[in-house]
């Protein structure tokens, strides 16, 4: 079947097979590999994207459910060479090791800061509790989000 949707501001159309998730379509059909596939079960947050402005796990969304929707992925956050302040902060803080969790965390942190521009430490922890990272122990991620909160207008 055909699927039409807006991805990062561009309208896209692709063939999909029944049962494919939005994550699969983004990655394998549209070539947007930024959203990651660490569990495909809604547990790790590495596939976090915006679906019509809502933060979702793309692995839990059936492709068909996204018909006609607007999707923003990590690739849609930077403007060309210019990184988003959240991305800058992740680099600056040293919050990236293997980086597999990073795209999902950046989208989730972006979402948090768009709702709450000055989150407390407890609020950051609560908001990012659905994003697993196996490398960093989260300290630098926490710092990154706090740094981004300071620099995000």
């Amino acid at each position: 079947m055909k699927l039409r949707l807006m991805v990062n501001g561009e309208s896209r159309e692709t063939e999909v097979r029944e049962g494919e998730s939005l994550l699969y379509v983004l990655r394998e059909r549209l070539g947007l590999f930024g959203s990651k596939n660490a569990c495909e079960q809604g547990e790790c947050g590495s596939c976090s994207v915006y679906l019509d402005g809502e933060l979702v796990c793309a692995c839990l969304v059936l492709a068909g459910q996204a018909e006609g929707s607007e999707v923003v992925t990590v690739e849609g956050l930077s403007e060309g060479e210019r990184l988003h302040p959240v991305q800058e902060a992740f680099l600056e803080a040293g919050a990236v090791q293997c980086g597999f969790c990073t795209p999902g965390l950046i989208v989730a942190a972006h979402d948090l800061l768009s709702r709450n521009s000055e989150p407390t430490e407890a609020e950051v922890r609560e908001a990012l509790a659905g994003n697993l990272c196996r490398c960093t122990g989260y300290e630098k991620i926490l710092t990154a989000v706090q740094m981004a909160a300071e620099t995000t207008p």
């Binding site: 590999f33 547990e43 040293g94 090791q97 490398c135 300290e139 630098k140």
Partner: protein, 792 residues
């Protein structure tokens, strides 16, 4: 992070981005933009998807395998079994005992039996369902102690004993004034790296294959893949693709041979990506252990002897169990001066999932036990637990129980003393606190009532690099040339960057040695000689030394050119792309180099180590790293829920190469130690994994991880490049026992098993389910019926 300066480099270079600076990751920008290509992101036109059929049984004979139905499916291009393995039908790093695809027998649940390549992953999955395997199910051997018994079925021709290491030191009959005994158990931990096992194999049309893969050691993969494909190694070329974490779990092969077999068979590129459930079956885990200890001491707290019996479950195949068994035996007594010791370390084959490398590698299990014993002894003696450790701390010049002299530095006393001095976190009133700062968090299980605080200490140590006679080396090629009017250094190695930051370290070393800021660390592949494994915390040391020496050779050749041109010059150096003589710039590098390229290759071998003799004595290891931890916890003693308030740590790293990356290693390592202490365990019943998902196998989230305070010591190892020590593993070793010690301090429970679960803390006895009240029994009626709860 606070560092205690104990050694400064005499002439620090002016070139930016050298060692000692928190330089950023060269792969950082693509990683935050989502553009970094991991092995699961690879894609080429016309590629097929590979999938693996795995045994549902932990132990069974294979009577037959029918593949015709799967082969007949539209979209299926190949179905392969053991008959299609062109070369050696087994693989393994230490002992090749694991079938590439099972024949005659499966020895663990999840063992690979057949492969499919299809045009869509879902087609491949459906095709797996059409392969019929006729199994004769056998009784599995489900624990190491059973495997040891005489009448247990022999799982391998060699028997069930995979390895045994005995360490005998001093007087075996030594008696002591004070004795403590304990039994300890460690559950099976998983590396749980986030990036799934994956890769892409592309046939070259001439019988060879290129494999893009995430791994820890390209060359050991290459050798094993080539062997099983019956190809010369040069026809199997491996390139490192983006690696989503490793922690030991990528040291063994997973889909490497399989993808290559499918690609060569179909003459099409084949991609394989494991799902999370498959990943739990697709790599080795940390060895579960049962350990019995006896410590003897004098009344004033000097250790007299340590006796330990360690039993490790190696699972179905050997992996790196040999080395884990040896490590455990050598570290069993902890970093203490132990005059008499008798250690037996047993490694057994069972029908459980194979176990192998994971961060800490044999040191983690015994550290949990020896540190619990030290606390027990301190309590019996009425001594402060840190004082007891200080009193027995090992020192350079002494002998480890395995006979090796303790090299300098071995700052056990310093790190323990300093970790105790790190200021304690403020003790806030529990009542009325933000829920998120209480055990149980927003589950709203306590508002502060029943919450008790505890503090615990532990210290641990481990070898860096490969040991016991293994020729451990790394190869680096450095080239210096002028590109677009600028000097550029290129670093070529086969060393795997798995997230830890080796790409930064390599560049920093090159900048420091060659005084050129523009350094490119090229993608790792098998065209450069082996770099050895990204494991055992060894790459900064071993590949670091290879890069450093190759840079020194390049530099020496430049200096020769300078001398040719300017005559004898004093105190030559390169800084910021300029040749410096006697502190004055004499020429830009460009002028000296012209259009030429200078390139040097170095193979660096670290000091030789030796196998242990029959008494477990020998110079087995070449470097040791030490870290101490203090944990502060809060426990809801009614529900057994835990909040770790803070971890403080002191670690000797020899030399800080990249402060931010070092902090990241320490914090990340502590998180994995916390996971083992409190939540992480692959639960196995009758040989079957019960929790192969992130829903049921829990790793710490940002809510579980406390702030970390750290103090870093830089006591230079005189043999190591810049004096550095490996840093990756020590944070994972003593953090676990420190947390459990804090739990004991808060609850007065014995807690001899990790992970500690709520029921252990509140002391619910372990009963088999059939002894618990059953639904139809009268005793059951009173338990938690909805109506009862409504009434109250």
């Amino acid at each position: 992070m606070t560092t205690t300066p104990t050694r400064t480099r005499p002439s620090a270079s002016r070139t930016r981005g050298g060692i000692g600076e928190s330089v950023g990751r060269p792969d950082g920008v693509p990683k935050v933009k989502g553009e970094f290509e991991y092995s699961s992101d690879l894609h080429v036109e016309g590629m097929l998807w590979g999938a693996t059929l795995r045994s549902p049984h932990p132990h069974a004979n294979i009577r037959s395998i029918y593949t015709s139905d799967a082969e007949a499916m539209a979209g299926v291009f190949a179905v392969l079994t053991h008959e299609d393995v062109p070369g050696r039908k087994v693989y393994g790093m230490e002992i090749p005992d694991q079938p590439v695809l099972a024949w005659e027998k499966v020895r663990y649940q999840g063992e690979a039996v057949a492969l499919v390549a299809a045009d869509h992953p879902e087609t491949a999955r459906l095709a797996l369902g059409k392969i019929r395997v006729d199994y004769e199910v056998l009784e599995p051997v489900t624990d190491a102690e059973t495997a040891m018994s005489e009448d247990a079925p022999k799982l391998h021709l060699s028997g069930n004993e995979l390895r045994r290491v005995d360490v005998r030191h001093g007087d075996p009959e030594a008696a002591a004034e004070v004795v403590v005994e304990g039994e300890y158990e460690v559950g099976m931990q998983d590396q749980a790296f986030l990036g799934p096992e994956s890769g892409l194999a592309i046939p070259d049309g001439e019988g060879g294959v290129d494999l893009y893969i995430s791994t820890q050691w390209l060359h050991v993969d290459q050798d094993q893949v080539a062997e099983s494909l019956d190809l010369p190694p040069e026809m199997v070329r491996l390139t490192l693709s983006g690696v989503g974490g490793a922690f030991g779990g990528r040291e063994d092969l997973s889909m490497q041979i399989h993808a290559c077999m499918l690609a060569l068979h179909t003459s099409r590129p084949v991609k394989m990506v494991y799902g999370r459930e498959e990943s739990f079956h697709g790599h080795v885990h940390r060895h579960p252990a049962k350990m019995r200890y006896e410590h003897g001491a004098t009344r004033d707290g000097k250790l007299t002897y340590v006796k330990a019996n360690l039993i490790f479950d190696g699972g179905a195949y050997a992996s790196s169990s040999n080395a884990v068994c040896l490590n455990a035996a050598t570290f069993a007594c902890g970093p203490y001066d132990v005059p008499n010791a008798r250690i037996e370390s047993h490694m057994l084959y069972t029908n459980n999932p194979p176990c192998g490398a994971m961060r800490g590698f044999g040191a983690v299990q015994v550290c949990f036990a020896h540190e619990a014993q030290m606390d027990k002894l301190a309590e019996k003696l009425g001594m402060d637990p840190v004082d007891l450790r200080l009193k027995n701390a090992i020192e350079p010049g002494m002998k480890f129980p395995f006979g090796q002299e303790v090299p300098y530095p071995a700052p056990v006393r310093e790190i323990l003393g300093r970790v105790r001095e790190i200021p304690m976190p403020d003790e806030q009133e529990a009542m009325g606190r933000d829920l998120r700062e209480l055990p149980g968090g927003v589950s709203n299980t306590t508002h502060g009532e029943g919450v008790r605080r505890g503090v615990g200490y532990a210290v641990g140590f481990k070898n860096i690099g490969f040991s016991a006679g293994f020729d451990d080396y790394s190869t680096a090629r450095i080239s210096l040339s002028i590109e677009d009017g600028e000097p550029v250094v290129r670093v070529y190695t086969a060393a795997a960057e798995v997230g830890q930051g080796l790409v930064m370290v390599q560049a920093q070393i090159a900048r420091t040695e060659l005084g050129v800021e523009n350094v490119v660390v090229e993608a790792a592949d098998t065209r450069t000689g082996s770099a050895g494994s990204t494991s055992a915390s060894r790459q900064s040391y071993v590949t670091g030394a290879a890069v450093k020496e190759a840079c020194e050779k390049v530099r020496e050749r430049i200096f020769e050119l300078v001398r040719d041109e300017f005559g004898e010059s004093d105190e030559l150096a390169i800084e910021d792309g300029n040749i410096i003589s006697d502190g004055r710039e004499i020429a830009p590098l460009m002028e000296i180099l012209d259009d030429g390229e200078i390139s040097e290759i170095v193979e660096f071998h670290h000091r030789a180590t030796h196998p242990l003799d029959e008494n477990g004595q020998g110079d087995a290891h070449f470097q040791f790293a030490f870290a101490a931890h203090r944990a502060v916890v809060e426990v809801d003693v009614e529900l057994g829920l835990v909040r770790v308030v803070e971890i403080a740590t002191t670690q000797d790293v020899g030399k800080v190469i990249n402060p931010k990356a070092l902090e990241g290693q320490i914090e990340g390592g502590i998180a994995q130690g916390l996971g083992l202490a409190l939540m992480e365990e692959i639960r196995i019943q009758d040989g079957e994994i019960q929790n192969a998902s992130f829903t049921d196998y829990l790793i710490p989230t940002i809510l579980d991880m406390p702030p970390v305070k750290m103090e870093i010591l830089e006591l230079a190892d005189p043999e190591a490049p810049y004096g550095l020590k490996g840093v990756g593993e020590p944070p994972t070793i003593a953090s676990t026992p420190a947390i459990v010690a804090a739990l004991r301090n808060a609850t007065a429970m014995e807690l001899g098993r990790i992970p500690v679960r709520p029921e252990h803390i509140i002391g619910i006895p372990k009963k088999p389910p059939d002894e618990l009240p059953q639904p139809e029994s009268s005793r059951y009626s009173g338990i938690g019926r909805l109506e009862d709860r409504r009434e109250t």
